[in-house]
Symmetry: C2
Subunit: 407 residues, 2 copies
């Protein structure tokens, strides 16, 4: 798979105190690369998570949801090459057996071991490989860095994706580092997004979850590649407490705002990286909607634009086709008044008050559309609701990846 033209360099990442990583190869697919990632987390590590809204979630997702209530984590195990989704009882048993093996190796409660899998659907995770993977990765704990882990959780991602940020919390510097795998495709499966965030912050599980949920709304839940939702999407955030800050328990605590902002920043960076590796993507598209009756309505209008195949193909073709944006606003089913709409491409006002602007000059818009980063802004003129989402264009590459190769 060709590296995305929108790829960014892998950032300089240190380690996070309390986090040890080992990776191993067990070839769930015909891969020689590592595809099992084991992370050992220091005792006392706190966990937060968000999972797919799919009604057909994988057993790993179900197990994560159940264990998140406990708020504590000692281990994370990630399989790439087999999603274990829609595999019935045997898939569930395989996931449970693998988590039990992790608990045994790490000497912890299985309720503190979190799992995620991505890859082919409908094939139960092979238990022998899953257990061998735990053992092999455990033997190499501490030998893998974040780049190795990022490569090992990937499927057909075309570049490794990570982000980091730090914040001062009560005199201590706290670091947050996240890795993500995105919308690369692994035939015959849908794309899955898995994100893992590690911090040395000391924080209560409830506040960490609150921060992650808030950050997710404007990052992972504000991106779309093709409107499809995986059965396995999972974001887990771990906080080891090793930074030594006074433990945060409330957003009123000193430094809580800074930590939340750093977490939101990491999540936003990771989410945009997923779009930058969207299947066939040649352009990153930022869609901003303002003037909606409320933020939720703005988000739905923005997603209607970002998911419109006609908008996405127009951008792919460098076509300043604002009529398709009008169409996508109109079909969103949200409050909108045709004659109050204003539409911008880049910095250029294209349409206003229900019609194209007088003397509209397409040249600056066409120039903007030649770039790799395209901005579409719509003001609905109704209220103060705002939202920003990101997507990519829809190209022949998407069709080639998803239709041309038989599974």
């Amino acid at each position: 798979m060709q590296r995305s033209p929108l790829a960014l360099p892998f950032p300089d990442l240190g380690s996070i105190a309390g986090v040890r990583i080992g990776t191993a190869s067990v070839a769930y697919k015909a891969w020689t690369r590592d595809c099992v990632t084991l992370v050992e987390l220091a005792p006392g590590t706190v966990v937060a998570g968000v999972t797919t809204q799919s009604k057909c979630a994988s057993p790993e997702v179900e197990l994560c949801r159940a264990k998140l209530a406990g708020g504590q984590a000692r281990g994370l195990i990630v399989n790439a090459g087999n999603s274990n989704a829609f595999t019935g009882l045997s898939g569930r048993q395989a996931a449970e057996a693998q988590a039990a093996r992790v608990a045994e190796r790490l000497g912890c409660d299985v309720g503190q071991v979190f799992s995620a899998s991505t890859g082919v659907i409908g094939v139960p995770l092979p238990v022998d490989l899953a257990l061998a993977g735990v053992d092999a990765a455990h033997a190499r704990l501490g030998q893998a860095d974040f780049l190795a882990a990022t490569n090992a959780i990937g499927t057909t991602d075309t570049f490794p994706k990570a982000a980091t940020a730090s914040a001062m919390v009560g005199g201590a510097r706290v670091t947050i580092t996240g890795i993500v795998k995105g919308s690369g495709m692994i035939a015959p499966d849908m794309a899955t997004m898995l994100g893992f965030i590690f911090s040395d912050a000391a924080i209560t599980p409830a506040l960490w979850q609150q921060m992650l949920a808030a950050a997710t709304a404007t990052s992972f839940n504000a991106i779309t590649v093709d409107s499809d939702t995986s059965t396995s999407d999972t974001v887990l955030a771990f906080a080891t407490g090793a930074a030594g800050n006074a433990p945060l328990a409330s957003m009123d605590d000193a430094g809580a705002d800074a930590l939340a902002a750093a977490l939101a920043d990491v999540c936003r960076q990771l989410a945009i990286l997923v779009v930058r590796d969207g299947e066939g993507a040649s352009k990153l598209i930022e869609v901003t909607v303002s003037g909606a009756v409320d933020d939720a309505s703005a988000r739905r209008v923005a997603m209607s634009i970002a998911n419109s195949p006609l908008v996405k193909t127009a951008i792919a073709g460098g076509d300043a086709n604002w009529g398709r944006v009008v169409m996508a606003v109109g079909k969103a089913g949200e409050p909108a008044e045709r004659d109050l709409l204003a539409i911008r491409f880049g910095d250029t006002l294209v349409a206003q008050a229900g019609a194209v602007v007088p003397g509209y000059d397409e040249a600056p818009v066409a120039a903007h559309l030649q770039g790799q980063e395209v901005r579409i802004a719509v003001d609905l003129g109704l209220g103060h609701g705002r939202a920003r989402v990101w997507t990519c264009d829809l190209t022949h590459g998407y069709i080639s990846i998803n239709a041309d190769y038989r599974s």
Copy 2:
């Protein structure tokens, strides 16, 4: 534009008593073909209609909605090559002026003249051409048949689309003939569906509207090409009363059921023809969902499958990728239980009870997917809700039509 591989021959159509057609060329685009269609309807003709749910509807759509309340029609004017959508006050005035000219030529009330336009967005309908078109088409009234009208209302449709059916109503044979233009593209615009149905039935406006609304639910509202909704979608049904049947006023009247069934049949045929001419379509896909909690829920699940780019690209590739169907069910947001799901491709049960069937043999599924007509059936196992929708696959042709050519 290449003729769709899913095209069907144009049916043998007679005329409908009380309906006279004239077409003319005024070149809204650089076309020599006819692009204005005028239909004169006998006094007493009843009209029913359904229009786009877009919040950014064209002035023609707004005018139709207002006039439908009257229930009577004497004229229909259709422009191809300019949709007149998002054109502000001048577009509205152009539509009104053209309807007024039709009323003048036909000697009728302007409230009984219906308009529809399809084509480029954001350019006000040129009034001089619009009026000249009325005059020229009026001079040729009675000289055009349904095929000529079908060609004149088209944009980049790759084949003309029509259907007919008849019913016995109280001893009189009543005919229903419909023509439709579909999801051909006219840069730089979105596709628009316009459908016009003509019958010689004698029927009250209220009952005719009731029949059309019911027929639309399982036809025009049960198809999707790419999930995008035009600002101009319009279906109008006219009943001249010339068949001489005892006028129908209630579904309890003799023959009402037969007429409703014939209307539903015509609408369903027309809707499927639109999908068969979907941009880049190489396969017609029928998605049936049963076992939902209710029909509306079944429809939303079916549309989630039919709109999924990953499902549509898999079908394009002849890939028996039932995992993507699981994904599309899961993301629909409707009640669904993973472990109760059953999925069929063609006549083959693929997955049941949350897992692939034991001993699953892909061969018959792969054979089914080689055909031009693909059937996907999902049973949710929850209730008695059912829905059937149609879509087409997503191919390189779609990208080529919508991205490769600058407007």
